[in-house]
């Protein structure tokens, strides 16, 4: 189908900016969809950036004009208020509940404890958790931190550092140059930086266009954060469990808020450059759990900010949400530990994971732990489904 007249060149709209994820995670979240957006064909290749380019959309998606006119991403104080005012009472600081949370988590892990210590703690991260709960075999195939760079990954890494720059110094000069320089300043991203240097001119131009567009959106919409709120970016969080045999690990893009006195005072924001995915909510719940355990106080809100569209998915933190997250984490962490110990040689694959289901020695079907975790996650989402989302709002 030919491009719509007046549209910009189609290349940026077909950007491969969505990280390749497990097939189970390929469901586009149905909540917080822009009002009136079609369910079919609304995927990574056809998402219309709604801000500032209202007359631009891919040819095969016909948006009703009122949708294009009405929906605008939150910006400035509105965005800030959306984070600060969740519509729910902030969760109280309650040491007894924190203690029960830990007991639940460690109790769930101790039940199927196997003799024999591992030389190093089993490290649980949001990605490992999601992967192993979706498909044990997939986790084995992909390993830990061994992903080959892609344009989507590069876009995500660049947007992460540009967001840090914006929060810390208040501005971005040349998004691509600043981003690459930021990635180069430490050795951690060297493989990605080398990969970027080898990109073809066309791919590089494509990446630059998308990074620039998203960075401009960030600069246009993100408010300056008051230093007194103690904003910190890429905040590392660790929680040792079972006397150090296991470690929950997380790194959040933005944490903001002073230490709590009697109720949750910290907001956690995850920044995503790709498409909205159902597992992002579970990631937020995991962050909320880790922050609660390490600080002995829950954050009052967790949110994902989608730089590609300007959507903000906000979820108030409640104690039921935290307990559900603890059950899910215990289920996944137990599987990870068993896998590292080599205790269970039978690998179960999700039926939706065609690649892994075809591997030798792989049994198709959900693991009991994963089924329980999915149920827990569903109840958590249900508990918080009443929360408003920014997509429900329309610009004044």
């Amino acid at each position: 189908m030919p491009p719509v007249r007046g549209s910009p060149p189609p290349a940026p709209l077909r950007m491969r900016v969505t990280p390749p994820v497990h097939t189970v995670g390929m469901v586009v979240m149905d909540v917080d969809r822009m009002p009136g957006a079609p369910a079919a064909g609304w995927d990574e290749g056809s998402f219309v950036p709604p801000s500032g380019i209202a007359d631009v959309h891919p040819a095969h998606v016909r948006l009703p004009p009122e949708v294009i006119r009405r929906w605008q991403p939150l910006a400035g104080n509105e965005l800030l208020e959306r984070l600060r005012v969740t519509g729910r009472r902030r969760p109280p600081v309650d040491l007894e509940l924190v203690s029960r949370l830990r007991v639940d988590l460690e109790g769930g892990l101790a039940e199927d404890r196997i003799d024999g210590d591992l030389p190093a703690p089993v490290v649980v991260t949001k990605d490992r958790l999601t992967a192993i709960l979706a498909c044990e075999a997939h986790q084995l195939v992909t390993g830990f931190g061994e992903r080959a760079p892609t344009i989507a990954m590069a876009c995500g890494a660049l947007i992460d550092v540009l967001f840090r720059q914006l929060v810390t110094v208040g501005g971005i000069d040349d998004p691509m140059a600043d981003g690459v320089a930021a990635l180069s300043v430490d050795g951690h991203h060297q493989p990605l930086v080398s990969w970027l240097e080898r990109l073809s001119a066309a791919d590089r131009a494509e990446l630059r266009a998308e990074v620039t567009r998203q960075a401009e959106g960030l600069q246009r919409r993100w408010p300056a954060l008051e230093p007194g709120w103690l904003p910190r970016t890429q905040e590392p969080m660790r929680v040792p469990l079972l006397g150090g045999a296991m470690e929950l690990s997380a790194r959040v893009d933005l944490a903001i808020g002073r230490p709590a006195v009697d109720e949750g005072s910290v907001a956690i924001v995850e920044v995503k450059s790709g498409a909205r995915r159902v597992e992002h909510r579970a990631d937020l719940h995991y962050y909320a759990l880790v922050e609660t355990l390490r600080s002995a106080a829950p954050p009052f809100v967790v949110a994902t900010y989608y730089t590609r569209t300007g959507e903000l998915d906000v979820e108030p933190v409640t104690w039921p949400l935290l307990f559900a997250a603890a059950h899910r984490t215990a289920a996944g962490a137990g599987l990870l530990r068993d896998q590292e110990r080599g205790a269970d040689q039978v690998r179960r694959s999700s039926a939706l994971c065609a690649r892994c289901a075809a591997l030798p020695g792989v049994q198709v079907g959900p693991t009991p732990a994963a089924a329980g975790a999915i149920a827990s996650g569903a109840s958590a989402s249900g508990a918080s489904a009443a929360s408003p989302t920014d997509a429900d709002r329309t610009a004044a």
Binding site: V185, P236, A296
Partner: protein, 298 residues
């Protein structure tokens, strides 16, 4: 059961840090530790080639415990990274906030970095050593260094109640060092993030050979406490005590792990000094063994 929240926990932590010491100054124990180290280390390092030296730091103690094979590997040539600059810049930020000059790390970090670079450009003097490196970075890279420092400083800033600390608390400062009089140089190095005088802990100068109040040291680490953390904290007190015999041995060392929101405290007594002295000897022995094993046979 509600509270105490993190803010109240910071207050309690700070009170514990500056609480009166439980025991007397450890001057005789320090003298004993020095003698033991000198006697035990000399024969160990004699086996090394002339000109070799052994530097012991907290990471060395840790490696000897968990990964002794790494002790013989040559160190990578030094190259500035954000991770190296964030501590010293972060400490300067914390100091500026503690002194009341700035109210929050995010507000302080830009001016502090700019002032350091300007001072180096004006005088050539490098207070932090990273000034020329930072001055040469582009805006994107510089922003990452500042962001890392803000994160580090905010973690430290949030875990203590700085208003409760005496105004002469020292944030940052040089390494404590002690060089053993052995045939090959053995240098014990240790650094603390904060040194806090404990109120009312001045020794009785008529009976004690030291002067000045006893201190509490604060050490900041990433991640979670690792096995052997207690000796590693005590090591800071040992080196500080060996370095200056005219000052009291630090009374306690508090470890902060901001990533995990954990703190641990070690009271320095004769047992703690004994244990860490043994660990230093064992570490130097492991370094020597690793180096000798790495030398190819003729």
């Amino acid at each position: 059961m509600s509270g105490p929240g993190p803010l109240a926990a910071a207050l309690e932590r700070t009170r514990a840090l500056i609480a009166p010491p439980s025991g007397a100054d450890l001057h005789p124990e320090r003298t004993d530790a020095r003698s033991r180290l000198t006697a035990a280390l000399s024969p160990l390092v004699e086996r090394l080639p002339a000109g070799d030296q052994v530097v012991v730091t907290v990471p060395t103690l840790r490696q000897a415990l968990v990964d002794p094979d790494r002790l013989a590997r040559p160190e990578e040539p030094f190259r500035w990274k954000s991770a190296f600059a964030r501590r010293s810049l972060g400490l300067a930020v914390v100091e500026a906030c503690a002194s009341g000059r700035f109210r929050a790390p995010a507000r302080a970090v830009g001016p502090i970095a700019d002032e350091a670079v300007a001072e180096w450009e004006r005088t050539g003097w490098r207070t932090f050593h990273w000034e020329p490196w930072l001055a040469g970075l582009t805006s994107g890279a510089r922003a990452m260094v500042l962001a890392d420092a803000v994160g580090w400083a905010t973690g430290v800033w949030s875990l203590l109640d700085w208003r409760s600390l005496a105004s002469d608390a020292q944030v940052g400062g040089a390494y404590d060092q002690w060089v053993s009089p052995a045939p090959r140089t053995i240098r014990l190095k240790a650094r603390s993030e904060v040194r806090v005088p404990i109120p009312g802990s001045d020794p009785d100068t008529a009976h004690e050979p030291t002067s000045g109040p006893r201190t509490a040291l604060v050490s900041v680490s990433g991640g979670c406490p690792t096995p052997g953390w207690a000796d590693e904290l005590a090591y800071l007190a040992l080196v500080a005590g060996l370095r200056s015999t005219s000052r009291p041995v630090p009374a306690r060392v508090m470890g902060l792990w901001p990533d995990a929101g954990i703190h641990r405290c070690v009271e320095i007594d004769a047992v703690a000094l004994d244990r860490v002295t043994d660990r230093v000897v064992a570490t130097v022995a492991a370094v020597v063994e690793a180096r000798l094993a790495a030398v190819p046979a003729d």
